[in-house]
Symmetry: C2
Subunit: 231 residues, 2 copies
DNA sequence: CTCTGTCAAGAGCAGTGCTCTCGTTTCGGT
DNA sequence: ACCGAAACGAGAGCACTGCTCTTGACAGAG
């Protein structure tokens, strides 16, 4: 196969592409996306800045590559956390999922900000990013599915009206046939709550109220598990 | 008073300061904070870029001024929405609060991103920003206080452990003496949920699931009202 | 009227993303 | 084995950016 018998040129190209992403990721982790500079990457790699354009057509493309890698890293971590939890304990899996996402975010704050912070102006997420981006959400849904049969809601879900009913039904039939539309909607609420809380913690909005946020986070995850009716 | 009898110089200075902020806000609203350029502001005002530094010592200082203005605009809008609601209907006030925040965010997406998106690298929020930033949270707490007596929780609040118990107690005694620590903690959960949901909507994370988000937002606000036990 | 502090403007520095050109190297087909 | 085409790295250069420093003009206070 052509993918196995590669010319020296192709091997060098692939290696350099990885090297560029590695150095870019290093600068991203240290300084943030805003200060990620193509020239600085080139300088660190000992090459001319113009040479980088043979590998990434623009700075945005390089950032997109980093975004995809970050989504996959976070998604993989979340999937592993869910898979490692006891199969019959949806609540434990929910905790594992939330903890893993928060831990990753705290370990990679700039990458988290790149994914869930302010989008780059005039930047439309390319189609290649949506699948990696969906992994965390799908992990959350897999938790709901694993506990779908034994869900015990303390309060009944308010009826879904109009467009929301259709959206929820479409999602149910697409990714979670054994979950009710009401429970899936609660999953969406918990999803936005999780990332809202993590963003507030990382972006400094909890300073002065519940910072450090470890116990607030643990408590909230538990309360949201109740909200989801997880057994 | 010296603030009334102002020299022509002082008046010109104040006017130009406002003019600069106005033009900067215009560019911010159009292009986002990332692309806000001091030189472009100066160009638009017909002055040299170096002259701007007599009014704002750096780009960050100008951004800080815009941040404070934005926090105040959002805070004022939220306070008015709460105040305009029926005094004896905490649930209606909660809806008004959430709707006003979302409406402002959708009308001023770049300013919202400046407040709740990725913080600028190496930028520590100056002390002048914390009071304006707290206004929305205080408006939320005022809703909790107005309904504190008649709260009916569908599920009891999980016990607060360790540091969280202390943090919640400190907040209660500082800003909401008639609210229980458990309810206030739920308020914090709803607070992070609200901004998480709005951020996801504005930053494009709801595309493909519940976009447009109007009905999802309304539904979630109602469910969170139940979560808070609002009458 | 003089003197002092404020002001706008211009030049300049160091940095950015990106483009174009120019030799050189490498690869695939003949 | 050769030769043209494609890929490559380097360099110069463009149009920007935030920011600093100097220079000369002007307004306000004594």
């Amino acid at each position: 196969m052509a993918t196995v018998i590669r010319t020296a040129r192709e091997r060098a190209r692939d290696e350099l592409t990885l090297e560029i992403k590695k150095e870019a990721r290093r600068q991203l982790a240290e300084e943030g996306a805003q200060r990620l500079s193509l020239r600085a990457v080139a300088r660190e790699l000992g090459m001319a800045s113009s040479a980088l354009y043979r590998y990434f057509p623009s700075r945005d493309e390089l950032l997109t590559a980093l975004i995809i890698d970050a989504y996959n890293a976070l998604g993989e971590r979340a999937e592993q956390a869910v898979a490692a939890g006891p199969p019959d304990d949806a609540r434990a899996r929910w905790h594992a999922l939330c903890d893993s996402v928060r831990a990753w975010a705290r370990q990679h704050p700039h990458e988290y900000a790149l994914l869930y912070g302010t989008p780059v102006p005039g930047y439309a997420a390319p189609a290649e990013t949506v699948a990696p981006a969906a992994r965390v959400a799908l992990a959350l849904i897999s938790v709901l599915r694993s506990g779908a049969g034994q869900v015990q809601l303390t309060a009944p879900v308010r009826p879904l009206r109009g467009a929301l009913a259709e959206q929820a039904a479409a999602l149910v039939s697409a990714v979670a046939p054994e979950v009710s539309a009401g429970l899936l909607t609660r999953g969406l609420v918990a999803w936005t709550q999780l990332f809202g809380m993590i963003s507030f913690e990382l972006f400094g909005h909890l300073v002065g109220s519940v910072d450090p946020a470890d116990e607030f986070f643990a408590h909230t995850v538990e309360e949201m598990a109740d909200f989801l009716g997880l057994p």
